[in-house]
């Protein structure tokens, strides 16, 4: 903040603001009267919150199944259905849940970005 005892500060304060013409307010308001306010329109995602929650739940279920299958590889015959046993032998690295988690996260990011891009494209169309 400027020093109130400062000579230059005194000069600025004493001289005051430069004065525009008296009718400047009227001229500005005349232009404002014909100017619309620009309102930012929010981007609405195609998939709503419920759909994303369902996808998340499904993804979590897939993760659980993958981990369970991975554990099952060490003790064959744990599963009662052939489906899981077949899956456990055909899927690569089913015991490495970190790879699955990384893949799942990357898929969700890609899907989210795609959803947003489609929403923006739909809005501007």
């Amino acid at each position: 903040m400027p020093d109130p005892k400062d000579e230059l500060h005194h000069l600025f304060r004493a001289a005051g603001h430069s004065g525009p013409d008296r009718d400047l307010t009227d001229r500005i308001m005349a232009r404002v009267a014909v100017t619309p306010i620009l309102r930012p329109t929010p981007v609405k995602p195609i998939l709503g919150r419920t759909a994303w929650m369902a996808i998340g739940a499904l993804a979590a279920l897939v993760m659980v199944i993958a981990v369970v299958i991975g554990q099952g590889q060490e003790s064959k015959g744990l599963y009662t259905t052939d489906l899981f046993n077949n899956l456990s032998t055909s899927l690569p690295a089913t015991d490495n849940w970190a790879i699955w988690l990384a893949g799942l996260s990357a898929s969700l990011v890609v899907l989210g970005a795609l959803d947003r891009m489609l929403a923006i494209g739909r809005r501007s169309a």
Partner: protein
């Protein structure tokens, strides 16, 4: 000063409420534009454009900064942009009017002081003249000037220091003891 209620009214459709903000800030906005453009007509045009732009984008004013800081930032950038457009037929310092259009409350001494200050500031870089006005006339902080101008804090401090020194030198060299007398009489 809090203008949130006025802004809410404007956003709700009462565009006439904007006149309150225009009346409150037009002199400082005009001063900023005049410091950059150094021409009354251009300054008035830039002032109008600044207020119209601010009105258009009022819905985007988040309230994280003061309304005045936000508005001065628009005015500063608008004036700089006007200045760039008209750089080709730039007015020389000698062609400058003695002072901008006088305000209704202008007294004789105030008029003389303003004339002295305007002529001295016209010999400074337009951006430096604006920074000095923000600091001394509006008493804005360095942080607020940084927000308005987009310059770095250290840059603003250096510019302030140099511009002050140069302005004092110009006043002393041009007006000598007369300037001292005017300032002291009005202090």
């Amino acid at each position: 000063m809090d203008h949130s209620t006025t802004i809410q009214h404007i956003l709700a459709g009462d565009s006439r409420a904007y006149a309150e903000l225009v009346r409150h800030y037009q002199r400082m906005v005009y001063t900023v534009c005049y410091r950059v453009l150094r021409n009354t007509e251009d300054a008035e045009e830039a002032t109008q454009d600044s207020f119209v732009k601010a009105y258009q984008h009022l819905a985007g004013f988040g309230g994280s900064a003061k309304f005045s800081t936000w508005l001065y930032s628009i005015a500063y950038r608008t004036a700089i942009s006007h200045g760039r457009k008209r750089r080709s037929d730039e007015t020389s310092v000698d062609d400058l009017p003695n002072h901008p259009a006088s305000a209704p409350d202008t007294t004789g001494q105030r008029h003389e002081l303003r004339k002295l200050l305007d002529n001295a500031l016209a010999r400074l870089d337009p951006e430096d003249a604006s920074i000095l006005s923000f600091f001394h006339l509006e008493e804005l902080s360095v942080e607020e000037i940084v927000t308005i101008t987009g310059l770095g804090a250290s840059n603003v401090k250096v510019r302030l220091h140099r511009a002050r020194k140069k302005l004092l030198d110009v006043i002393q060299a041009t007006y000598g003891p007369e300037a001292q007398r005017l300032i002291l009489e009005h202090a």
